[in-house]
């Protein structure tokens, strides 16, 4: 199934990515770095721990993975043929 989002025209998201970003709660310090760099608004902090709100607007840039000093974010590639796509990049 293909989804779009009003805030991000010209981009489609294909379902079935799997959990390609994971958070290790025991390592997470709740600093919020992941939330601050995510332009897709994919993150939230609940009980001082980061958690993924949605992957449906993720552009797979891995910024959350780069800025996690605690090493709590694990990033891998989504399943083949899924995730974002655009003709206008």
């Amino acid at each position: 199934m293909i989804k779009t989002h009003d805030d991000f025209p010209g981009v489609e998201w294909i379902d079935g990515t799997g959990d390609f970003i994971r958070v290790n709660s025991s390592k997470c310090t709740g600093c919020g770095n992941c939330m601050k760099v995510c332009l897709g608004d994919c993150w939230e902090i609940v009980d001082q721990k980061a958690q993924i709100k949605t992957l449906a607007t993720c552009m797979e840039c891995a910024s959350c993975w780069y800025v996690c000093d605690a090493g709590a974010v694990d990033f891998s590639w989504p399943k083949g043929g899924t995730g974002y796509r655009s003709d206008w990049g």
């Binding site: 805030d7 991000f8 025209p9 010209g10 981009v11 294909i14 770095n33 601050k36 760099v37 995510c38 332009l39 608004d41 552009m59 797979e60 840039c61 891995a62 910024s63 993975w65 780069y66 800025v67 990033f75 891998s76 590639w77 989504p78 399943k79 083949g80 043929g81 995730g83 974002y84 796509r85 655009s86 003709d87 206008w88 990049g89």
Partner: protein
Amino acid sequence: MEDFYDVVVIGAGFGGSAAAKKCADAGLKTLMIERSENVGDKVISGLTIPIYGFLFGPDFIRDGNPPFERPTDGIINYIIYDIDAGDMDIDDTLRVPRPFSPVVTFGYNTYCKPFCEWQARKAVDAGSELRTSTTVVDIIKDNGMVSGVVLEDGSRIRSKIVIDAEGSQGILAVKAGIRKKYPPEAISLADTYDYVMDKKDLDRILGYSLRFCWGWDEQKIAPPLGHGNGLMVWPYRNSVHFMQDHCLRLDGNKVPNLKKRFQEYHDNITTKLPLWKEEIAPRCHVRARMWEGFEIYVGLDPELKKMSNHDDGIILIGDAAGLESTELCDGVPAAWFSADIAADVAIEAIRAGNTRKDFLKKYDDRIKDHPIIQWSISSRNRYNLRYAQEKHDKRLLKKYVHYAWGMGQLTHSLTPILKMTFRFIKKDPAIVTKWIKMYFRYYQNWLHESYDYTESRNRIIDPGRPKTGEAVFKILVGGQDLILKILAPIIKLLAIPAFYLSIIANPAMKILLPVMRPVYKILRVPLSPLGNWLSDKVVRFVDRADPSLFEVTPGQSIISQKGSINLKKD
């Protein structure tokens, strides 16, 4: 049963498909694996590919008919001191002057997807296989030797060499312990918009020139200098591409709220910059917004720069090897150069029966010996810009923008470009003719949207067109080609000292530019009408000329296919 290939290339972007094409041309059994459904679906940039990428990159690109959005003649910089008071300077010195422009260019703007598709088709035509919608999840290592890849369904593909072109994140290389994850200080996040605009408006308002904006932090007009690229506007054929980028973290400080900052910058630039507010905004509408991270500071970090980009059985290329340019913020030329080198080394290694790192070390050695790669990843001008900004010093800011994005650029780019020029001429002086024909062919292709794999490659040429220009072109270029061929031994010999002498080009420009600048400013006023007249004549000639005049491979096959490359997943 496991499939076996000579070479597996991970990623069919700008670098991956260039490497696959060369390996396949050499007769190697080659496989490209691409995680997206269609090639290019996930490649994002605001993209001018600088001219040196085409001049010194893979032969099939230089001699082919790749798709472009618009040639670009250079950059107009807005150095904004006070946006509300309209206090700003303009530096438009890094532009190819008329009559050379628009045929002779600074580079070519393009969407990533059609260009990557074009390259991948060339690789497939050469015999490479392509699997799309396929994610590589791991690299196979046998006693430390990379011997293939693992796919998401658990299947394994064996190969003699893996070329990793997965992009800047380098997830697989990091996971396999081949290189480290880059720190956030090395990554710039690029927020990108695409606006639709009528071509006639675009021609009039932006023409062939890029627009860059630079400003003080507190202006919130362009991301901080020296740690971002500022703000860049690209004219495409029927659209305007807009990118602002910002480093994920500055010098170990707190990670900024980029979501909030980008929104603020975007709102300010589109509502306050007169060019955007008065000219562009009323005539455009947003079509797309997307973002991607680029490793543009890797070359500036001595430790990261030293990281090896090969191991037993594997070579990293392009962004995966940290080769994004900090100089002009371009990644494609270095991806092409490194793909070319990686393919050469892979071919040699397979023929020699040694794919261990003692042999593959040649790859990193050649990368270190590449004048343009080394220049482009090593410029420290960003730090100068940052310094000027922190000092709030207008004079310094103007100076460093000029040295990075104005004519002053020649004081550090001329030597590497000349070195590559003479290196190519030494190999084959006839390359000069190919370069000239490339400019003309590319421009004609752009005028007629006539690229490989499109129907318009077969367009009918007007038999009643004027033939004088064609005759003049044939005589000039044909004569030049003949001279180059006759004098080849002497030219090759002369290219050797010229290569070494080009080391003085940068310092010479430092002395000459201050003299040339005022002379150029004075001369361009009276010469401008003549330049425009000649330029218009050349454009009219190119528009109507027989395309075969500009071809370098007679009888080149033209295949009419349309649509995205999307081979079924195996």
